[in-house]
Amino acid sequence: MRSIRRRVGVAAAVAVAMVASACSGGPASHPGSEPPPPPEPEISFEPEADAPPTGPEPPVATSDPHETLATESGPLTAKTLPREIGAYTGDTDASRQMGVANGSWVAETEGPVASFEALPQCGAPEDAAEAVSAEHALTGAYRSPEGNLGIGVVMEFADADSAAQWFTLFGDRLAQCEGDTTVRDLDAGPEQATYHRDMAGQIYSEAGVVSDKRVLLIALGEELDPAPLADAARSTIDR
């Protein structure tokens, strides 16, 4: 009798299971449905990875990279930059160097970002992060007939002292360059600097000038006499 009950029990269990299978396709099946949702992401952190930030915080650009760049920045316009420097001319196709093409050879750069990034990556990073910031900046792109690239940046600070202070730091950091970035032929004064810079094999001929509360920097991507660059910068910086 006991064995009969047992047999009946087994048969019932199998029958129930078969019905369940027919209905659901089994305990883990989702016939005719979408796959299960993806598992919750599991991000694990090393304890130290949650430590608060330390060190200098560089300025962060706030502009939308999707936006077409402006062709003016405060009082700075295309006239503030030289249109031609020797064989180099303003390059309206050089949007790679500035962002979204705007049909012009100049484009606005956020002042604090421009003055921070233009400082040579030489010397203490704290000095660069804590340096006085420009209020406005405009960048111009150049190209030579041979296809060499050039760049010009004009920045306007709050006052002449700020501009002078920034330019002094600029020269100091140039003098500290070593390793992948080296500077030679440096002729730096309080209002003008000319030099050659080698950045990992890319040679730039450069000049920087100060006038009142403005600083204008020019770099052309080949070995040239930098003195005419300074002259070109002086010819437009006050416009």
Binding site: A17, G25, E48, A49, A61, R197, Q202
Partner: protein, 552 residues
């Protein structure tokens, strides 16, 4: 003599009746009660049932060997003293106890001993054994095995299987205490143990299952049986016994052509959920063993079950197993399974530690990747060639994000990106979504491999983020890579134009061919994931930088 013959007839008759019941309906309810998916195995391609599921997995076939010495496999019968014919027979009531039973009866205490008064005279039963019945059991004697006695519950179980006429034959040892200190045992000449446990009842274990049980520690370590041996639900092909292990129920199963193996723990639970030996997995072809990365694994005829503490015991079989086995099983790129397989509209799927494997109804496979990011702080060696004094963001504000990605070979790889700490969330979300959508990435190695040099790194088709460097052609502007807020992806298939030429030189084919493996089109999962998390794509610039994404 007539009385003896009558007793023998009754004994045989009752034995036959009981035996008939036992054979027709082997004791407990062996069939697992949970029924699995009705047809969980995709039709094609059918994996070979004889595949070896692990590259180096069979280290320990007996992970939990007994510390206790099991009883001897072949019980040695005691030397049989020849009965002394001169002993005076002991008359008790209607029955007489005489040689060769008498000496053993006296040794057990006679009528005041555990067997009590005789209830029959001695008689010669089957297999030429001399038997005498007593109130609490029987004494057996045969010249080659000597004296033994079988009592109460053991005797009833012995009777279920036909006494000396059944496969057990004549008792050869007992009754004695088991090496668990709680059980009482009898051994029989046919290689059978009858064991009575105060909690688990009285059951028999015999043959190859008994041998296996002994090799695993028998009642002292492996556990006492909770069933007699019974037919498997694979139409009776296999034979099984269940045991009460210290960590739960265990099964020892013998299958013709396969052998005898044991299944235990969570793996056993899952095996039962899939129908046991009669289900989709079939009978075990291995004991549980330690697989790769410490996983516990049991192989079955048509699949395997893998257990880890974090994933539980999951079965892999069918077409999914066929692919899984080519990828190194639990030690391969998918890791251990975290789910059993499931059916969905277009095929079958299963989740693993590092991703999801899909077998589509059209016969193709697809891998969806779980990136499982690990975020750690940056050490000096991480940025040995990509950071120098003067860079705008120092190591303390950078993080290494180690995460999985789908490689060009369809396998899951582990790579890394170094990003600004405030960009970790965006990057992990963007890569998480794109990898779940199976967007392939060739490699994600530290730029130190190329000493931080961008051109050779682009030629190597590397995906990377932080690298302190100026924008090409512009010493007054730092690349957003210098801040750890830009990512270059699959540089070869997504070249960029610097105003003069395209980089890398080996990527020129993809200047116009904007489709194919790893190509960013603007509609692909990678671009969508990055843009959804605030990144700007350089493919939108007039001068294309197809591999470049940046965020403020």
């Amino acid at each position: 003599m007539k009385k003896f013959a009558h007793a023998l007839t009754l004994g045989i008759a009752s034995a036959l009746i009981i035996t008939g019941t036992a054979v027709a309906d082997p004791t407990p309810t062996p069939t697992p009660t949970v029924t699995p998916s009705a047809t969980p195995t995709p039709q094609t391609p059918a994996p070979s049932p004889t595949q070896t599921p692990s590259q180096t997995p069979t280290p320990s076939t007996d992970p939990t060997p007994s510390a206790t010495v099991p009883p001897s496999e072949t019980p040695t019968p005691s030397a049989t003293p020849t009965p002394t014919p001169t002993v005076t027979p002991m008359a008790r009531g209607r029955f007489q106890v005489k040689s060769p039973i008498l000496s053993y009866y006296k040794k057990l205490g006679g009528p005041r001993g555990k067997l009590g008064e005789p209830t029959s005279d001695q008689f010669v039963a089957g297999r030429n054994v001399t038997v005498q019945r007593f109130k609490n059991g029987n004494i057996y004697w045969r010249k080659d095995v000597g004296h033994t006695h079988v009592m109460s519950a053991h005797l009833a179980k012995y009777g279920q299987f036909g006494f000396e006429h059944g496969f057990m034959g004549v008792p050869v040892k007992g009754e004695f205490r088991g090496n668990d200190g709680r059980s009482r045992l009898n051994w029989f000449e046919g290689g059978t143990t009858i064991i009575k446990h105060p909690k688990h009842g009285t059951h028999e274990v015999h043959g190859l299952i008994r041998n296996k049980w002994h090799s695993l520690g028998a009642e002292g370590y492996y556990g006492a049986p909770t069933t007699d041996e019974f037919k498997g639900n694979d139409r009776g092909r296999s034979r099984l016994s269940w045991f009460a292990g210290p960590d739960g129920p265990r099964t020892i199963i013998w299958t013709p052509g396969i052998g005898t193996h044991e299944v235990r723990g969570r793996i056993r639970d899952t095996w039962h959920a899939f129908g046991g030996e009669g289900g989709v997995l079939g009978a075990p072809t291995s004991d549980e063993f330690t697989g790769q990365n410490g996983a516990r694994v049991s192989r079955f005829e048509r699949g395997l079950i893998i257990w880890t503490p974090s994933t539980g015991a999951r079965a892999v079989f069918g077409a999914l197993l066929a692919n899984y086995s080519t990828r190194g099983w639990e030690g391969g790129d998918l890791g251990a399974p975290t789910s059993n397989e499931w059916r969905f509209r277009d095929g079958w799927g299963q989740d693993f530690q590092n991703g999801r494997l899909l077998f589509m109804d059209n016969g193709s496979y697809r891998t969806q990747v779980r990136t499982n990011p690990y975020v750690r702080s940056v050490r000096a060696e991480d940025v040995k060639h990509t950071y120098r004094k003067g860079c705008p963001v120092g190591p303390s504000n950078l993080r290494v994000v180690e995460m999985n990605h789908l490689g060009y070979d369809g396998r899951i790889k582990r790579g890394q990106l170094i990003v600004h700490r405030d960009t970790v969330g965006r990057v992990t979300r963007a890569f998480g979504s794109s990898q779940w959508e199976s967007f392939p990435i060739n490699r994600m190695s530290n730029p130190n491999v190329w000493r931080g040099k961008d051109v050779p790194m682009m030629e190597a088709n590397n995906t990377s983020a932080f690298n302190c460097r100026p924008v090409v052609g512009n010493p007054y502007r730092m690349s957003p890579h210098s801040y750890g807020r830009a990512v270059d992806i699959n540089t070869q298939q997504n070249p960029y134009f610097d105003g003069r030429r395209w980089y890398p030189s080996n990527g020129s084919r993809w200047i116009r061919q904007r489709h194919g493996k790893g190509v960013l089109t603007g509609r692909d999962p990678m671009t969508r994931g990055m843009q959804a998390n605030g990144f700007f794509w350089g493919g939108n610039w007039a001068s294309k930088d197809y591999h470049h994404f940046q965020v403020n």
